[in-house]
Symmetry: C2
Subunit: 143 residues, 2 copies
Amino acid sequence: MHLTTEHKELLDQAMERNGLRATRQREQVFSVLLQKRDHPTADEVFQRVRAEMDSISLATVYNCLEVLVESRLIRQVNFEREPTRYCPNLTQHAHFYCNQSNSVIDVDLPLDVSQQLKALLPAGFEVDHIEVAFNGCSHQQTR
Amino acid sequence: MHLTTEHKELLDQAMERNGLRATRQREQVFSVLLQKRDHPTADEVFQRVRAEMDSISLATVYNCLEVLVESRLIRQVNFEREPTRYCPNLTQHAHFYCNQSNSVIDVDLPLDVSQQLKALLPAGFEVDHIEVAFNGCSHQQTR
DNA sequence: ATATTTAATTAGAATAATTCTAATTATAAG
DNA sequence: CTTATAATTAGAATTATTCTAATTAAATAT
């Protein structure tokens, strides 16, 4: 486990705030997501965590991911009906799905652009969240 | 079945173009989507088609929907892990998911806005499709 | 520290949307 | 009208995810 002091505190505070416990499993799952900043599925997270904590179960990984998403420490991203992926990038951003490498790349989404998107809505619409997803080819290595 | 002559021709041409057949089932599924312009799931389409063609199977509905999507006569829309929904609105638009009514509302997406979104991408990224999804409350009746 | 309460983890079963399979039927072409 | 090809059908299979009930760990009170 290689959670930095800052990330450990971030987790502790988030758990505290929500009346939840900062268990070893939750630390591990959070740590794994921070270590390799790609967009792994629950199963990929499971594989990575198991390398260091072989007793963990898939159900626990799902539980940890759910808790981290609800505590807003990570984000959940969906593309069509593919397995849900998880990412620790909390800055506002869009996702680019590369058909070729089957990978996801974060794309910065400036505040003024998301404001413009919100402006498209009729009066009375309240927005929680905007998802912008590009689909195409990035001509990049998988990452 | 109430396909207008224009829609019937649209279907025939699309099938022709792709070396596929314009079967009764495909006509029915297309018709049902055009009749009530909401965002039904495959199962809802199945229910509606069955009212007029009780021998159709769910597998066929899935097949028809897939063919119509591939022929670009309808669009497929996904929200998180919910069942895929289908819509016959082919004009460029975004989707608003209302948490309260659990319905989807089309939102116009002007060309200049989608151009702006494309401009966010690094050089060399080729875009097939952009999905913009809002999530929140529309304070509307279900539709 | 130890006992008690409460929450989290675990393995495996259950669920649900979708896809696959193999047999049958419909459509188009010769 | 025959043949070839594609589509439909019912039901089984698949797969990501959630649920269940028992066990274990963490926090709190004694």
